[in-house]
């Protein structure tokens, strides 16, 4: 064997061995403990870093999960129950199953129903309009239509419908992270329980004015007449401040309230068409036609989007 090869082997091996020895002792001497579970947990998180959990990024959430004893308050809305149960498995902690949620827009005040009385000329964001009187319409509670919710959505799950000037949620894309709920200055968006086949019934209005004022501002406003409360068999509806609210947990999707609402402010979405009632007075049918069609359109829109998505 030539000397070159010998030198090569000796020097490189020596360097390698020395490096290994030094590193080993350094590692022993300067050991800093870091919980290895943090990495494990982080690996299982969706890495969207959306902040929906309330922590800065997935790593921060992972640390919080490892540190806290009870993780039932911590929830990753993007990963959902699957992720949380995996995390719980790693940490050996119990996690409650939560109902999947989806964002709904509680305003139907398209220009057709809610006349514009002013014109707004300022920075194009809802937060600023909401500080200015009632915005462009006489209803100060409703949607301003400038799309703050669309802006904040990281999942492209909301878009503005150009005709109704209202936001539309794409159910399949929505992860219920709650960013839009926080962004809406008028608290129009609510996270509601996701039902079978994306069926939904909810009061699509947040107007807390008295009936007359509300009605004057918007055709489809909830006027707080309590007709729905009377017809609900499950005590799922309450009226407060002249505004009805359907408890998503108690509601059994019987659709009775939808029929009795005089202003059609309760929406039913993704239901099969109703059987036509034979004995309906002509006038009432006409009065109902417009809103009924509009919800129908909404349904169609949703279907189209679902197919695309």
């Amino acid at each position: 064997m030539s000397t070159i090869i010998l030198f090569t082997i000796i020097s490189l091996s020596a360097i390698g061995a020395i490096a290994a020895i030094i590193l080993y002792f350094a590692a022993q001497k300067f050991k800093v403990f870091e919980d290895p579970r943090i990495d494990q947990v982080e690996e299982n998180l969706p890495a969207a870093n959306c902040g929906g959990c309330g922590y800065p990024g997935c790593r921060g959430f992972a640390e919080a999960l490892v540190k806290s004893d009870d993780i039932s308050d911590l929830y990753c809305p993007v990963g959902g129950n699957d992720t949380m149960s995996k995390v719980a498995e790693i940490l050996g902690k119990a996690v409650e199953a939560k109902d999947p949620l989806v964002a709904v827009i509680r305003c139907s005040g398209s220009p057709e129903h809610r006349k514009k009385v002013n014109s707004y000329d300022g920075a194009s964001t809802c937060v600023i309009v909401s500080g200015l009187y009632s915005g462009e319409t006489a209803c100060q509670y409703g949607c301003h239509g400038l799309g703050d919710c669309v802006e904040v959505c990281d999942f492209e799950a909301i878009y503005m419908d150009k005709e109704t000037e209202l936001p539309v949620v794409i159910d399949d894309a929505c992860t219920a992270c709650g960013a839009c709920v926080k962004a809406c200055p008028n608290d129009i968006i609510e996270l509601r329980k996701k039902n079978k086949k994306d069926r939904k019934i909810f009061v699509s209005c947040v107007n807390m004015d008295k009936g007359g004022i509300a009605k004057k501002a918007c055709d489809v406003a909830c006027i707080g007449c309590k007709a729905c409360v009377k017809v609900c068999a499950y005590d799922a509806i309450v009226v407060e401040n002249f505004l009805a609210y359907i408890d998503p947990v108690k509601c059994k999707l019987c659709r009775k309230c939808v029929e009795v609402c005089p202003t059609n402010s309760i929406l039913e979405i993704n239901f099969p068409p109703r059987k036509v009632k034979p004995a309906q007075p002509v006038g009432e049918a006409e009065a109902k036609e417009t809103p009924a069609r509009s919800t129908g359109e909404k349904e169609n829109d949703n279907n189209i989007i679902n197919q695309e998505g």
Binding site: N118, G122, A123, T125, I128, Y133, S134, Q140
Partner: protein, 443 residues
């Protein structure tokens, strides 16, 4: 060289159409809606009920804390109801609604027009009287005046500054007061000086009101310790901090109050109200309101009872012009655009400006070209372009570090921006977010 503040500022077209029109007393309205929250601080508590009879000057709502103010009836008549009525902020707020019947004043009020010069009350009594009379800052900020006069222990006040600048374009109510009620105002200033125990009072007036300045300078000779200073016409000369800097060259520290540099600032209107309250026992229930605008037939200055609907003023000034595009409560730089004429005049209403449609649209927005004009006009030495961006991107910590809380919302940046960007809109938004954060941090 005229005195002025050293940094920033703009000079918008003045448009003082109503400067030469003497104050007229507006006829009594049929009903008034008097909001119970007309000042900064806690809303007052109503002390009248539906059906009660009230006289002019009767207290109808009581101060609900130290930073709050009494509210008095501005008319005589019957309380119809206490209901939510939209006020100038656009929100429906509780108002006492009174049907006007005659004009019967509370007996204790001295209705004579004689000048009453000698001040008989002590400093404490003066402050009490002011508190009792519900006087708030009439320049627009509506901060309860007695609070400003109650100097906390350890603070030494050596100068009273009277704000007669009226730097907002179009508005002339203070201007007319300084011409027509100068004598009363000066006595009011003396009362304030006594309440504060100071020997010096400086009145700052912008140099575009030479008649008011010479009028005051003539009379002020009889009032020792009071000086009148003409100031350069530069917006926002009337900003409290800018005025102090211009007159006595002291800089109110960031986040601080004028108290911190030994000064207290009051508006000329407030001084007059103080005179009337202390010498004539007349609570604050009326004020001068300018109604003006390019297309307004008769730009006027009215003496108006609080609670009068704005529509009455418009009527008296010749009706709403055809081309109305915007109705502004206050001046064009800091006033609020309102969407109804049915809002009531309140203590802080210094003017109603009616803008023609052609002037009420903003410039078309384009990209920021980083021309730094906003930086150079900012009287507070801030960087509006940056704050605007940070507010848009919701970078609240950087906003706070960037001094967003120092913004006085004077609007100079938006006014000057060649790209027509709504700088102040976003800065204001960022400011409210940051102040929320600061508040939650304190808790």
């Amino acid at each position: 060289m005229l005195k002025t503040f050293p940094k920033g500022g703009v000079h918008p077209a003045e448009g003082k159409y109503s400067a030469n029109n003497a104050i007229e007393t507006l006829p009594l309205p049929k009903t008034v809606s008097i909001p119970i929250a007309q000042h900064i601080g806690a809303p007052s508590k109503p002390v009248v009920d539906k059906g009660d009879k009230v006289k002019v000057g009767d207290k109808i709502a009581e101060s609900a804390g130290f930073v709050s103010a009494n509210i008095h009836s501005s008319v005589s008549g019957t309380v119809v109801k206490i209901d939510n009525v939209m006020d100038s902020t656009g929100y429906k707020r509780p108002c006492v609604i009174i049907d006007v019947e005659g004009d019967e004043w509370n007996e204790s009020i001295d209705r004579s027009t004689d000048l009453k010069k000698e001040i008989s009350l002590t400093d404490k009594e003066i402050i009490n009287k002011i508190n009792e009379s519900g006087i708030v800052g009439l320049g627009g900020a509506t901060f309860p005046s007695h609070v400003k006069l109650s100097v906390p222990d350890g603070k030494k006040i050596d100068v009273l500054i009277i704000n007669g600048v009226e730097c907002e374009p179009y508005l002339t109510s203070d201007h007319r007061l300084m011409l027509e009620k100068a004598e009363e105002m000066l006595i009011g200033i003396q009362i304030l000086m006594k309440a504060l125990n100071v020997n010096v009072a400086l009145i700052g007036v912008e140099n575009n009101k030479p008649d008011a300045i010479s009028n005051l300078q003539n009379i002020v000779k009889d009032y020792p310790g009071i000086e009148v200073h003409a100031l350069k016409v530069q917006y926002p000369q009337g900003g409290e901090k800018q005025l102090i800097k211009a007159l006595i060259n002291r800089e109110v520290p960031s986040g601080g109050l004028p108290l911190d540099v030994g000064a207290v600032v009051h508006n000329v209107g407030t001084a007059l109200a103080v005179y009337e309250a202390v010498q004539k026992n007349k609570p604050l229930f009326e004020r001068v309101v300018t109604l003006t605008g390019k297309s307004v037939k008769k730009p006027s200055n009215f003496m108006v009872r609080i609670g009068t609907p704005v529509s009455n003023l418009v009527e008296a000034a010749g009706g709403l012009p055809e081309d109305t595009g915007k109705i502004i409560n206050g001046g064009p730089m800091m006033g609020k655009a309102v969407n109804s004429l049915e809002i009531p005049v309140v203590k802080g209403t210094s003017g109603i400006l009616i803008m023609p449609a052609e002037l009420s649209k903003r410039k078309k927005e384009s990209n920021c070209i980083r021309c730094a004009k906003c930086v150079s006009v900012c009287p507070q030495g801030l960087e509006p372009y940056l704050l605007n961006k940070l507010a848009l991107l919701e970078k609240n910590d950087k906003l706070e570090a960037g001094g967003v809380m120092d913004c006085i919302e004077c609007g100079s940046c938006s006014y000057t921006c060649p790209a027509g960007l709504p700088l102040l809109d976003y800065i204001r938004l960022g400011k409210s977010r940051v102040s929320q954060i600061i508040r939650s941090r304190k808790q």
